[in-house]
């Protein structure tokens, strides 16, 4: 079943077309990867889907709602949550206080929101650090907190924007494990990364962006052999 359907999405900044006529659909329960070189339009695409930018044309349908041009808070309420490439934690609050903000998306009752918060923190492995002020968390933990906040809003589709950038090998593996656990909870995931190895190991399907266009969409093993993808990443000289 399709959970997200993007049709002919276009976003321009002045003369620059950052997202160029992209169509895409995401099936319930899958992990879909979005890759592409720097400046390919991945984050702009994310921002258009989640209400941070108003697309110039095209439409976004999510779980039978037309969410094109809605404000981010409305999009979150229908069940599409996201994280930010540059972590957007609430610095003056503790870990649990950050997460409870997300939990209040589904309940006004503080006691229930708090219980849900603790459940999420146990799930993401931040429970031990629940009373830390988040400025004192490591980058890896802050990225984990970003995911925890988004999970607390109980999304059916979670979009992660470079949740693994800046992590070392061990931390990256832990993040991959977490993403798989999230998928096992029944949450569909769309993941932006530009580290190929990561995305290839967890995605069921990979979409490749270059210069704002979708240039390929396939299973990971086929994507790595796709000449258009190799050219986008390595340049024409390495064309096999």
């Amino acid at each position: 079943m399709e959970i997200l359907k993007v049709k002919n999405l276009t976003m321009r900044f002045g003369n620059l077309t950052a997202v160029d006529d992209v169509s895409l659909s995401v099936r319930q329960g899958e992990i879909i990867g979005l890759i592409g070189p720097n400046g390919a339009g991945k984050t702009t695409f994310f921002n258009c889907l989640t209400g941070y930018l108003n697309p110039r044309s095209g439409s976004v349908r999510f779980a039978n709602h037309d969410i094109t041009g809605l404000r981010p808070n409305r999009i979150c309420k229908v069940g599409l949550a996201r994280t930010f490439q540059i972590v957007q934690v609430f610095k003056e609050m503790t870990t649990w206080e950050n997460v409870i903000v997300g939990a209040f998306c589904r309940t006004t009752d503080a006691a229930r929101a708090y219980d849900q918060t603790l459940e999420i923190l146990k799930f993401t492995g931040l429970y031990e650090k629940k009373d830390f002020r988040v400025g004192n968390l490591t980058i890896a933990d802050q990225k984990r907190l970003e995911i925890s906040k988004a999970l607390a809003t109980q999304p059916s589709l979670l979009m992660l924007d470079e949740a693994m950038a800046g992590l070392n090998a061990t931390e990256t593996n832990e993040a991959i494990e977490l993403i798989k656990k999230i998928r096992d909870r029944g949450i569909t995931l769309m993941i932006v990364e530009h580290v190929m190895e990561v995305i290839m190991s967890i995605s069921e399907r990979v979409v490749v962006f270059d210069s704002g266009k979708k240039i390929a969409e396939d299973t990971p093993d086929k994507i790595v052999k796709d000449p258009r993808v190799i050219e986008a990443y390595l340049g024409g000289a390495y064309h096999a």
Binding site: N73, Q88, E92
Partner: protein, 328 residues
């Protein structure tokens, strides 16, 4: 997580100081001391009200004198011209303040950054000029209260300050409980999230425009109630005494000195500034006008260098969050 406001009364650290405060006026017949206590509670409450929008939600207002003045004028004008009890005037003043808050908030909360601060300041200046030239409320001459029998209905007493003390105390405690309740509820978390990262707040399902407005409405309403109390306490108001920038700034300073975005901050700030302001006036008389603000400015400088979180910051445990553990 303990969220009920009344749980504050289970804490000895909250109940004992409140009890002491309540008993303080009985230790002396010194009327001026009673006056200082009343002013302390009034400004702590004003600061608590400002804190909702300025401290928690991070939208700094330099125009709260407008709401204060509207409350003050509503009580006295309606009493004088229509014989309406100031208690009703208080609610009407609160209502007018809320309407004005919405009118200011609606356009500016869509903008980012400092526009809110500037617009509150501008509106406050306009409102003060309007009242200066509005004959119905006696313009710049000011409005004395009519002479009526002392009682609760007329909300006026001439010699005895104790009735005012009781009313101020009830206000002070109720607003304290409200602030405590807000801090621990969804509203409090939403306000703080909006202050720290509006984008992230939106992404977690918070309608930032709406909740900034909610903060503004609560703040304006409570500020207007304080204004009504002040008018009935002083029994004479004019635009400079209730609508001027001085009042707005004083409310901001009390909060920032004490610790913006904390429950205890407004109380600490008021406990420091109000006695300073009242006693320096006695000590220096008319020539000393503004000395309290000079000293206060110096205090703010020192505090912002050594403890940017305000006096309340000294009470905060290092490494922990600002609001303790949820069981508390």
């Amino acid at each position: 997580m303990e969220t009920r406001a009344l749980s504050l009364f289970k804490k000895p650290s909250a109940v004992i100081p409140l009890l002491v405060l309540f008993l303080l006026p009985f230790t002396t017949d010194n009327i001026h001391f009673h006056h200082v206590l009343i002013m302390f509670m009034l400004f702590a409450t004003l600061s608590q009200a400002w804190n909702v929008i300025g401290g928690y939600a991070g939208q700094v207002s330099f125009g709260h004198a407008t709401f204060f003045g509207i409350g003050a004028y509503a009580a006295l004008v309606l009493l004088k011209k229509f014989g309406l009890t100031p208690w009703a005037g208080m609610l009407i003043g609160g209502g007018v303040a809320v309407i004005l808050a919405i009118l200011i908030g609606y356009p500016v909360f869509r903008l980012k950054g400092h526009y809110f601060a500037i617009s509150t300041f501008a509106v406050a200046e306009i409102v003060e000029r309007l009242f200066m030239n509005w004959d119905f409320v006696e313009g710049a001459i000011g409005l004395p209260a009519p002479v009526l029998p002392e009682n609760l209905f007329h909300f006026m007493w001439y010699k005895d300050k104790m009735p005012y003390f009781y009313i101020a105390f009830v206000f002070f405690v109720l607003v304290l409980l409200l602030a405590y309740k807000i801090e621990r509820s969804r509203l409090g978390f939403y306000f703080r999230a909006i202050k720290q990262s509006p984008d992230a707040a939106e992404g977690l399902g918070i309608d930032t425009t709406k909740f900034k407005m909610v903060a503004m409405i609560i703040s304006a309403f409570l500020t207007a109630l304080c204004g009504s109390f002040y008018a009935q306490y002083i029994l004479y108001i004019d635009p400079p005494s209730v609508l001027s920038l001085d009042i707005s700034i004083k409310i901001v300073l009390v909060t920032v000195l004490g610790g913006a975005g904390t429950i205890i901050g407004p109380i600490l700030g008021s406990a420091i500034l109000i006695p300073l302001s009242e006693y320096s006036r006695i000590l220096l008389g008319g020539t000393g006008k503004g000395v309290d603000l000079i000293v206060f400015g110096a205090l703010i400088l020192v505090i912002s260098v050594f403890q940017p979180l305000g006096v309340a910051g000294f009470f905060r445990k290092p490494g922990k969050g600002s609001h303790g553990n949820p069981q508390g």
